[in-house]
């Protein structure tokens, strides 16, 4: 096999197809042509009119020229590349096209990686095409080469990140109006991000000194931002892959595994930062982020399958310990609920341990009560578990995937609407706070500061106990059904049934 053939064999098929479509289509060619045209016009205009002279007599219009060229390029790429990627993903997300891919031996992750690589390649194409103009601004003085490359690198990764979000939104299984709404929200966010980037880039160029790039604080901030953005991008790519994976597959596994790894890695980083800077803030931030992630996973978990088809059953280990771990991580509502309980519990427990031991290096500040965290964790858990219970026992017509919406409705009904009615109708009497605490007894996120009924935690714990006890037989039933393929063949037949529409 020749080297060319070998290289050809390594190419991602989706990327090859997408790039062929991109160069054949009008969209990318139009964006590229307009972007270059605008840059030629901008350079020409600066050359003719913008010559500024410093006191030393040296012309320095390079920074203004660079900023103009940069914003022409950045506007074009940050708006149109994600738009192109998102629309292409949404169009090809149609069942027919995805089905066609899944009758081949291609893997879902190859599809997503291919789409992402296409985005990177198209962004690189636009950036490299503009590079001669941008570097030309260096000749005009006022901006150094390092700043040019630094700014372009930031912009390049920003465009790629925006495109990853667009890919994710493009494959969200939702109705067209809802997708349109998501798209509008996304572009609102992009515009806000654009404003922030514009301010940042302007500041970097205006205050550009080599000294700034030599400070460790600067690079710490850059690396921290890159790590956070990178983690979000990876999460979105994994989620996008999971969304396009067939429902019969073990779709929850990569998500739960990823969140577990993020939980561990971010704990290590937060603890390191907390000890280094002698503050509890990183741990608080870690706890809040983990709560958010676990709650999102729990919202999905309560709508997952309760039986496993052969495709998942093939992967269930025979070893009891491995099987128990697999139960937590594999697709399935029962195991997912236990996974969420485990991680909620571990997060609150770790936070409490840090609070109690309070190493001297961490300072004495008390930012967030462990009680508040426990209340929040139990709140998320009981509302969603109650929704699951109601959907299974009473609301049979509600599809499993809408269980999270039932939980939200219960939360609104018992925890949000009563306080709002109370606030609208009550006079400002001295016992207002006390009465308000009472109506927000089931809501750990009250609208007023300093509120909290002492009985809230015990009541939530009692509620948790009730729903947990009621859910034990349901989880037990799933655990018994969670058998490897061969064990099933030896045992009962009905566990082979797949509950359709509930796959994670």
């Amino acid at each position: 096999m020749t080297l060319r053939e070998r290289l050809d064999g390594w190419l991602n098929p989706v990327m090859v197809k997408e790039l062929r479509q991109a160069v054949r289509g009008r969209f990318i060619v139009t964006v590229l042509s307009l972007s270059l045209l605008a840059q030629v016009v901008a350079v020409g205009a600066f050359m003719l009119t913008g010559a500024a002279t410093t006191t030393t007599g040296i012309t320095t219009i390079g920074d203004d020229t660079f900023m103009t060229l940069f914003f022409v390029l950045f506007t074009g790429t940050v708006l149109f590349i994600p738009l192109y990627s998102g629309i292409r993903m949404a169009v090809e997300r149609s069942d027919t096209n995805v089905d066609l891919l899944f009758v081949t031996t291609i893997k879902p992750r190859t599809i997503v990686i291919g789409k992402m690589l296409t985005t990177v390649a198209l962004t690189a194409l636009l950036f490299f095409a503009s590079l001669p103009f941008l570097v030309f601004s260096y000749v005009l003085r006022g901006v150094d080469v390092f700043t040019i490359f630094f700014v372009l690198t930031i912009a390049f990764f920003s465009v790629c990140s925006a495109a990853i979000v667009a890919l994710f939104l493009g494959c969200v299984p939702a109705t067209k109006p809802f997708r349109l709404l998501l798209g509008i929200l996304f572009f609102g966010l992009v515009l806000m991000g654009f404003g922030g980037m514009a301010a940042l880039i302007t500041q970097i160029i205006r205050s550009s000194t080599t000294a700034m790039f030599l400070t460790s604080d600067f690079w710490t901030a850059v690396i921290a931002t890159a790590v956070v953005v990178g983690a979000i991008d990876v999460m979105l790519l994994v989620t996008t892959t999971v969304i396009i994976t067939p429902a019969a597959a073990n779709r929850a596994f990569p998500i739960r595994m990823m969140i577990s790894l993020i939980w561990l890695a971010s704990l290590a980083v937060s603890a390191r930062l907390a000890f280094k800077h002698r503050t509890g803030h990183p741990m608080v931030a870690w706890t809040i982020v983990q709560f958010l992630l676990i709650t999102i996973v729990l919202c999905s978990v309560v709508g997952e399958r309760e039986r496993w088809g052969p495709r998942v059953a093939r992967m269930i280990p025979r070893n009891p310990l491995k099987r128990a771990i697999a139960f937590l991580f594999f697709s399935g509502a029962g195991g997912g609920v236990l996974w969420a309980a485990l991680f909620f519990g571990a997060t609150v427990a770790l936070y409490e341990v840090v609070q109690r031991t309070r190493p001297p290096s961490l300072g004495s500040e008390k930012i967030l009560e462990s009680r508040v965290l426990a209340e929040a964790a139990i709140c998320f858990f009981v509302y969603l578990l109650t929704a699951l219970l109601l959907r299974r026992k009473v609301l049979h017509r509600i599809p499993p995937r809408a269980t999270w919406a039932v939980g939200l409705c219960i939360f609104l009904l018992v925890a949000v609407i009563p306080p709002l009615i109370f606030l609208a109708g009550s006079d400002k009497t001295p016992d207002l706070q006390e009465r308000y605490n009472l109506v927000t007894i089931l809501n750990p996120f009250p609208f007023l500061e300093g509120t909290g009924h002492p009985a809230r935690l015990p009541i939530l714990m009692l509620w948790l106990l009730v729903v947990s006890v009621l859910s034990v037989p349901w989880i037990g039933e799933q655990w018994r059904a969670f058998k490897p393929m061969r064990a099933r063949e030896d045992g009962d037949e009905d566990v082979l049934q797949v509950q359709e529409g509930t796959a994670a």
């Binding site: 020749t2 899944f102 009758v103 088809g309 359709e500």
Partner: protein, 310 residues
């Protein structure tokens, strides 16, 4: 090559879309898959193509289980769904190249494979045309070419003739005959039963997820004992008198006279039909010919299905 579908079942919540479907077909067979809309044809075909997972049962492609080894089974199957591709800005050749890559065909073999398939499906002349510029018939050809890239032993075609003009249908029919001659096992659904009768060697009739008839066309068209049958009686005497007499006899339904022939719908077994002939002779009728009219697939379909969906 042999495909054994064994007690296949698919539940969507409380609805059973496919309920214990079993049938067999092999190399060189063209099996028609017939049923009213919503009968479970597409669901069965999607399961056989490994796109969906069965709730019960299995299918063995030359002994390879769809349930236990879907990846291995997938290599042996070429699937043409009932919808055409919607990829924009891509030529026929690029489209096939993409799928050849997706099937993991090695770079050194890929060009030869694509060229061969293009030639076989008569696409060489339009390989540089954009997909969106093609007619429906040509697009269907591209779909067939795509399904042939990895040289599958089994072809599953879901409504391949839907929306095609007469020429494209004839060409498709010829292609399917060639596939069968090459030894591929073909399962093909269609609503055009006359066309299926012309190319199929066997048929599966399905309704409400259950199989009503399955087997070779000869087996299918042979009336079961308890079904209706159409009999033709030619008389040397008066046909109208014969008709009057027939209407008095048990099991005889609608009758029709055409010159010296009476065609009648008869409910009963072959033995009872033979008794009917004996009775006519006993009553002094001069019977010149007494035969059972062979039912076609359309008639069988109308007889055995009720038009219901799950």
């Amino acid at each position: 090559m042999r495909v054994d579908v064994v007690a296949l079942r698919k539940d969507f919540g409380k609805t059973t879309a496919v309920d214990g479907v079993s049938f067999t077909f092999g190399s060189g067979d063209v099996m028609g898959f017939v049923g009213p809309n919503g009968a479970g044809k597409t669901t069965t075909m999607r399961i056989l193509s490994t796109l969906d997972e069965p709730s019960g049962g299995d299918a063995l492609i030359d002994g390879v289980s769809l349930v236990q080894e879907p990846e291995e089974a997938r290599r042996r199957i070429g699937f043409v769904p009932d919808a055409l591709p919607t990829h924009a800005d891509i030529t026929v050749h690029e489209y096939l190249d993409f799928f050849a890559r997706a099937y993991g065909i090695e770079a050194r073999k890929r060009k030869a494979v694509i060229d061969g398939v293009e030639e076989f499906t008569n696409l060489t002349g339009i390989r540089e045309k954009l997909l969106k510029a093609l007619s429906k018939g040509m697009n269907q050809r591209v779909c067939l070419a795509r399904a042939l890239l990895h040289d599958p032993k089994v072809l599953i075609l879901d409504e391949p003739a839907a929306g095609l003009d007469p020429r494209a249908r004839i060409e498709l029919r010829e292609l399917i005959r060639v596939f069968a001659a090459q030894g591929k096992a073909i399962l093909m659904s269609s609503h055009i039963l006359t066309e299926l009768s012309e190319i199929c060697t066997g048929a599966v009739i399905i309704e409400r997820g259950r199989i009503l008839r399955a087997g070779t066309l000869d087996e299918i068209m042979r009336m079961p004992e308890d079904e209706r049958r159409t009999l033709v009686v030619r008389t040397r005497g008066n046909a109208l008198e014969l008709q009057r007499l027939l209407l008095e006899l048990p099991g005889v339904g609608q009758t029709n006279v055409d010159e010296d022939e009476v065609t009648l719908e008869f409910s009963g077994s072959e033995d009872e039909a033979s008794d009917l002939l004996g009775e006519l002779v006993r009553r002094g009728q001069r019977i010149a010919e007494f035969r059972q009219q062979r039912a076609n697939l359309e008639q069988i379909f109308m007889n055995v299905t009720t038009g219901g969906v799950q």
